[in-house]
Symmetry: C2
Subunit: 322 residues, 2 copies
């Protein structure tokens, strides 16, 4: 990753054991970069951090208003019962089922949900995929558009609509896409483009359909932290500890935040893809921007990142320096 | 980490998504650096990569010669039945049991072993800890030394013996230690020191007790690849694909190799601690040094590092450039 700077040190025995480099931007409501670490022009894949962008066509078409479903559409969820049931009910309301999904199956992220499947001797299904809510939303849009079943193909009307929305809110033409873990195309952008999108979400008002959709999505996320991620997860803990702020993780070390009260958006990418570092930097920026109490348990946990050994002793921790 | 260089690129959709930096050395049988990438003077924790060093006092005292037990002493194992049974039998022969271990418990690394525990409704015990073989060896040495039960304390005679051996084979005084995941002290060294230790293991002969112990340990590892790691693991696959070469992973992106036929040792550390990158660089160096067939399945898998999505499609891969 070009233009990254050292952001996180992992300490053990008073000595730096590992380091994480990355880049981050804070953008205002017009999409302008107001603060940056590393290169804002670095081209990245947002991965799951842009699910609220991918959900814009669904909401703008007036297809869904239920905040719980919108939260699920923006989720990288743990495959807990609240998540799989929500996705299954949404599909049933569309007259569809699990087999219509194209996300593939993986074991639930959440440990108890995974253990329950193992005890039952059952394999995970596509509802357990952390993206099943996003895909239910894709299917709702696909039916509305009268399009074919393979809604993850990059030239499918659903993905063309997603790309158009993505390029509008990032303010730039995407240089291309990669295929994500859930088989959907994931459009590349400059880091500053992703930050601009988050700034625009933060500044959105009720003036037009785009603005109303952005408000609905950011509020749905902030009001349903457990649906957006799940038990024990950083996104859930952060949103529970803040007021009206939406945050979202993405694979390979991406993290974003939408701060409506301050009219600011945040986007960051850890060069090596480490989630531990992305969470630590995100929490640090949220504290710095006044949205997160530095004394809150989640802030202390994520920024300090204690490393605890098998006998419960803290053997290391992280330090974030921006 | 000072003096790291870019070593691995993670590619998705024809674009670099993430990068890993690191440093590596190849050392000869006298411990001299013969080739280096990045800074050989970088101070690192070897973590589990130095278990064959930690086992030297055990072997030099003549306490254990069974190659399977020596392989377990050097293992970061998957907690499969072959591992837990081996550790349990060793402890029983010492007149000790699981409760005498000080490594703590964690779920088996190996998926089927973990699932079996979940299905049985059982919690993991200390035998499942990936370090239980190393700790059985520590207990054997502790009994021989007539020392107390808390053998992981840094000033315990067992750890004093380990430190002495570590400093002799690295050729330098350790600047200090961190506490490892298994509660044992892990002594820091320059990367070149760890490489020198591996070079000395590679060049060891039968001339003295140290040399004989080194030969026994490297042969025990190379002849028992499944005991050193386990099903599906990189160390096991690499040793199965090579002849007489011992390799070992360590947490936070460390990897070492002992190549007796070439009289060379390898040590590397990925700056951000990523195992995927450490394995890719290790396999690339083993190919480069002529020990690993580049067309072997394990070489192709580890150096290419295919990223496969939930529907079985390859969505990304790694590229190693040294």
């Amino acid at each position: 990753m070009q233009g990254s700077v050292e952001m996180v040190r992992v300490i053990r025995g008073g000595r730096v054991e590992s380091v994480h480099r990355g880049a981050a931007v804070v953008c205002d409501a017009r999409g302008a970069v107001v603060e940056a670490w590393g290169d804002p022009d670095a081209v990245i894949y947002p991965r799951s951090s842009c699910k609220m962008v991918q959900a814009l066509p669904l909401v703008e078409a007036g297809l869904e208003r239920d905040p719980r479903r919108l939260a699920l559409a923006c989720a990288s969820h743990g495959g807990e019962a609240m998540h799989t049931r929500g996705a299954a009910e949404w599909l049933a309301d569309l007259g569809l089922g699990e087999a219509d999904l194209r996300c593939g199956a993986h074991m639930p992220y959440e440990a108890d949900a995974a253990a329950a499947l193992v005890r039952a001797g059952e394999a995970p299904c596509q509802l357990h995929n952390n993206c099943s809510g996003k895909h239910a939303g894709f299917l709702a849009l696909s039916r509305h558009l009268g399009a074919g079943p393979d809604y993850v193909e990059p030239d499918h009307p659903v993905q063309r609509a997603v790309r158009a929305a993505f390029e509008e809110v990032t303010g730039e033409e995407s240089p291309g896409y990669g295929i994500d873990g859930c088989s959907a195309p994931n459009f590349a952008t400059r880091l500053a483009g992703l930050g601009a999108a988050m700034g625009r979400f933060a500044g959105a008002g009720e003036g037009d359909a785009r603005g109303r959709a952005m408000v609905m999505l950011r509020e749905a996320m902030a009001l349903n932290p457990a649906l957006v991620a799940g038990t024990g997860r950083a996104c859930t803990g952060l949103m529970e500890a803040m007021d009206g702020v939406a945050v979202k993780t993405g694979a390979e070390g991406v993290y974003v935040a939408i701060l409506p009260a301050r009219g600011l958006g945040v986007a960051l990418k850890i060069a090596d893809g480490a989630t531990r570092a992305a969470e630590a930097v995100a929490a640090t920026l949220l504290v710095r921007l006044g949205a997160l109490d530095p004394q809150s348990a989640v802030a202390r946990r994520l920024t300090h990142g204690p490393i605890v050994n098998c006998r419960g002793r803290e053997t290391g921790h992280m330090e974030v320096a921006l």
